[in-house]
Symmetry: C2
Subunit: 281 residues, 2 copies
């Protein structure tokens, strides 16, 4: 990435009225971004503010891997000169990226690409907390890893074709030795080639860290649906509880850049001594 490709305008009107310019105005060195075509007939093409365009450009660099998780990105001043905009505009773009947890600012040091290898955001995606005491990370036990063909429902949620290869993982997580979470995961086979039970067991730390480091896939957000269910025989046996024990059924779809789904997870949570915490604001 060298030249800034940015459209400096806030609305279509200004351009049109000023002169008979095309709907897109290139800045010093480039053609426009978000410049929806140079069509003469424009049915309200909705332009973004400059900082939104800058934000999109930065996000592209994150997605393309130009800057990898944990790495330092260019300073605001440097990005400003690269994109030929003011530092304040870059700042506003990064403000939003920071609010969305895509990057992390550190005063005096710079702005870093967010990573799952940090205690800071360790509990962002682990919502099960103990009723008493402080949260801590569970122990991991991999039950099964296999490749299979995606059932229709799994394929639909992962946005792949039914029958496409997926990696299936079953694991049990325990707190202080007490089995509490039974997770079933389905991962797109095209992304997670070579994922084995050995690699999963070798890896200490959060699984999203492994996804990030070993498979170049950084998860940035997830959507969950929660229901109450009863343990059947198989589940009860794995969690060491009686059949019929009420459990939280947490179905999660995780996304990477560009709203691309990269994980489907079905968790069964035992909530005798833990609870799913949620802040509504």
């Amino acid at each position: 990435m060298v030249g800034g490709f940015v459209v400096k305008l806030q609305s279509m009107n200004s351009i049109i009225s000023t002169a008979n310019n095309p709907t897109v105005v290139p800045t010093a060195s480039g053609a426009g971004v978000g410049a929806s075509s140079a069509s003469s007939l424009n049915a309200s093409p909705t332009f973004s503010p400059l900082y939104q365009q800058i934000k999109a450009l930065i996000t592209q660099s994150l997605q393309s891997g130009e800057w990898k998780p944990g790495e330092l990105i260019p300073s605001e001043m440097e990005l400003a000169s690269r994109f030929k905009v003011s530092q304040g505009t870059v700042r506003k773009a990064i403000d939003e990226l920071s609010a969305e947890n895509l990057v992390v600012r550190r005063q005096g040091k710079g702005t870093f690409v967010a990573t799952h290898h940090e205690a800071r955001s360790q509990f962002r995606f682990l919502r099960l907390a103990p009723d008493e005491g402080v949260p801590h990370y569970p122990e991991n036990r991999i039950i099964e890893v296999k490749r299979m063909r995606a059932p229709a429902e799994v394929a639909r949620l992962l946005d792949i074709k039914s029958g496409d290869s997926v990696v299936f993982i079953r694991r049990v997580q325990s707190f202080s030795g007490v089995p509490t979470i039974l997770d079933d995961l389905w991962l797109p086979g095209s992304i997670f080639k070579g994922l084995t039970v050995e690699r999963l067991n070798e890896y200490k730390g959060p699984m999203y860290g492994l996804f990030e480091t070993e498979f170049g896939t950084h998860m940035i957000r997830a959507s969950e649906q929660i229901r109450a269910v009863c343990a059947d025989e198989a589940v009860a046996s794995l969690l060491g509880v009686g059949v019929g024990m009420p459990l939280l059924n947490v179905e999660r779809v995780s996304f990477t850049y560009g709203d691309k789904p990269v994980e489907l997870r079905r968790g069964l949570y035992l909530t005798l001594n833990h609870h799913y915490r949620n802040e509504l604001s």
Copy 2:
């Protein structure tokens, strides 16, 4: 509120060093920002940035009822001149208040105090969504309203004394005629005087709207803990399901300005055709 009492500085150092000023300095005419200097002793009492102080002042006006829910607050320019700071600083303060849903900006019209009487934020605190189709608001049936003395646990969560008066409400909410939510609520008696089953039944719309309008208490955030339980006989009967049916147990504490708890709610959700939705980001 007339004069702005605002400390224009970013750290304690500047104050102490400049002179033997008190820790708070009124800004008659806008003394210099960040009058830097060398300090003799840094006790590190952590000063807030100017915009945080402005934010706190605005929040006070919200809390005191100077501006009521739904009302227009003074424009950014007016607040800037009132507090003797720049418009940009007021803007940054309001940016955060807006992000926290305490106020709502409307371009061209002004900034309004957030209210629960709006379709916009109707589903902010109703997280149960249908598995199929679009979300809609449930019908309400009040089962019981009574005053009682707060049990120890209820008192603890509401931050009142055990035995203090509380209003207890039980209601069932239905979607398309199907009973789905059984709510038990405990409200501090000191705030909710004169709350009767008639008033609850008269009132159409979200209960937080009634709290806001009739009792001057605006709920701004809530904390939930979710568990899986099984329906006992009483619950099963009210929800029209069999004993042992798994249900979500959602325990909520709601807060108004100043992190003051104003509601304790225990909801039991039937999740056969609905789910609790949650976005992790």
